[in-house]
Amino acid sequence: MSGFLQNTFNGLVSGAFYALLALGLAVIFGMLRVVNFAHGAFYMLGAFGAYVLLAEAGVPFWAALVIMPLALGLLGMVLERAVIHRLTRLDPLYNFLLTFGLTLILQDLVKSRYGTQSSPYHTPDELSGSVDFGLFDFPTYRVFILAFTVLLCVAVWWVLGRTRVGMVVRAATERPELTRAFGIDVGKWVTPVFGFGIALAGLAGVLAAPMRAVNPLMGADLIIVVFAVVVIGGLGSIFGSVAAGFGIGLIQAWGEAYLSDFPIVSQTVVFVVMAVVLLWRPAGLFGREEAPA
């Protein structure tokens, strides 16, 4: 029993990372119709930035948790203005080429200075140790990640669902042209929304630094699963991306624990789930068919 709870908890923690990354991808796709293949690189930059800030300037984890999302969100907004916004009028192939190219550039920039060795990042003292839940105990840091991510997702959910800004973003995501005809300058919201999505990726990166190996390829490894998550949840669906993020984290953790004798199955279970979902619901679990403009 406690083994099962342990696995479930670990699954939710990996799911938290998937949810944060998928949520960013979902708002970006919803608003810009751009699939951001560079999302994993921004996650890596978040983790690397936290590492560099601590190692070279002594900036602690808590400050990095604020600084890196803001800095990367700003970088994202600059990139959106400079290049990303040109994609909306082009064939989707350019979307892939540009954002994948950005990934390679960002990865190699980091690699050329810091190499491919993983760098250690110590868990902040306040979050070291473990929390005793009676039947079992969990590392404090992981409990923190889970609580923090759930709160963040609820906050984003509230902003999107209950505020005027959220209403405008939902309307613009669903039917951009119609929304313009109702007096709303949809273009004005595109850059901040892109920056927000990138900031979430950066935040996930900072959170990952103390528990994952910080290296230039950490984003590339993760993003493949995140894309499976986004497709399962329904591209552009906010709720779907978060739900599928946690769901896939759980399935993966259970798969690794109980199917460890069949490594082929435990490593591919995510993609099997994706294939089954797509056969059953081509727009994803919570996705809708594209509405006309």
């Binding site: 209403m167 405008v168 939902r170 309307a171 995501t173 669903e174 039917r175 042209e177 119609l178 929304t179 313009r180 005809a181 109702f182 007096g183 709303i184 300058d185 949809v186 809708r288 509405a291 006309p292």
Partner: protein, 230 residues
């Protein structure tokens, strides 16, 4: 209020509007009739600023709006009632109504709208796409009245509605007119058109073929219906 001069529009290579010129005075209700594919919807989309391939001049209250993006035209007082009713699935009924900013001098309050449309009040927290077709049409009209739009662009508001609902749409448009709202209406239902409108333009192959008043439409109804293929 609205003046269109030599408006031409294209879909790729195909020209759908050819040098259309027309005027709508403040407080008037004017319909565009014509066969499917005559260019009625394209004309309405061009006025709203939703059709990119166009040439000509569109003036609103003497101001040239030809180069303005759609959102600025809406803020200048245009109210968009699209042919598919434009209900947002991810917004509640109330959100659908309050999404557009108030732009005119005499916007309806939410209370007044819910008083006039009890069905919308009952379903105010549901997703707008859960409404029936008729309720969605009322929502589309109520939305532009709440904006306080001064010129409504309505694309076939009676299409697919029961006779009772058609009458309700008519009552609503007549009430709006009484409050000084101007309406440009695409309409195939001639009986409805003569009931609400002051004048009519017959559009054929992208040109204004004829301008008619109500008595002319009534006296030529049979001929026009045959022409429209209804």
């Amino acid at each position: 209020m609205l003046r269109i001069e030599n408006l031409s529009a294209w879909y790729g290579e195909a020209q759908v509007l050819r040098e259309v010129s027309l005027e709508v005075a403040a407080g008037e209700v004017v319909t565009l009739v014509g066969r499917n594919g005559a260019g009625k919807s394209t004309l309405l989309r061009s006025v709203m600023g939703l059709h990119p391939g166009q040439r000509g001049t569109i003036t609103l209250d003497g101001r040239d709006v030809t180069r303005l993006p759609a959102y600025k035209r809406a803020r200048a007082g245009l109210g968009w009632v699209p042919d598919d009713r434009g209900a947002y699935a991810t917004l509640t009924v109330t959100e659908n109504l309050t999404l557009p900013p108030r732009v005119g001098p005499d916007p309806w309050s939410l209370d007044r709208i819910y008083e006039a449309f009890p069905a919308l009040h009952t379903r105010r927290d549901s997703a707008a796409t859960m409404l029936s077709g008729g309720e969605q049409q009322m929502l589309a009209l109520a939305r532009v009245l709440r904006m306080g739009a001064r010129l409504l662009l309505c694309d076939e508001p009676t299409e697919g509605l029961s006779p009772l609902l058609v009458q309700q749409v008519g009552d609503l448009l007549r009430e709006a007119k009484q409050h000084g709202v101007t309406v440009l209406l695409v309409e195939q239902n001639l009986h409805f058109a003569t009931g609400v409108a002051d004048r009519h333009y017959l559009l054929a192959e992208g040109r204004i073929a004829e301008a008619m008043d109500n008595s002319e439409v009534r006296s030529r109804e049979r001929e026009l219906l045959a022409y429209l293929g209804i």
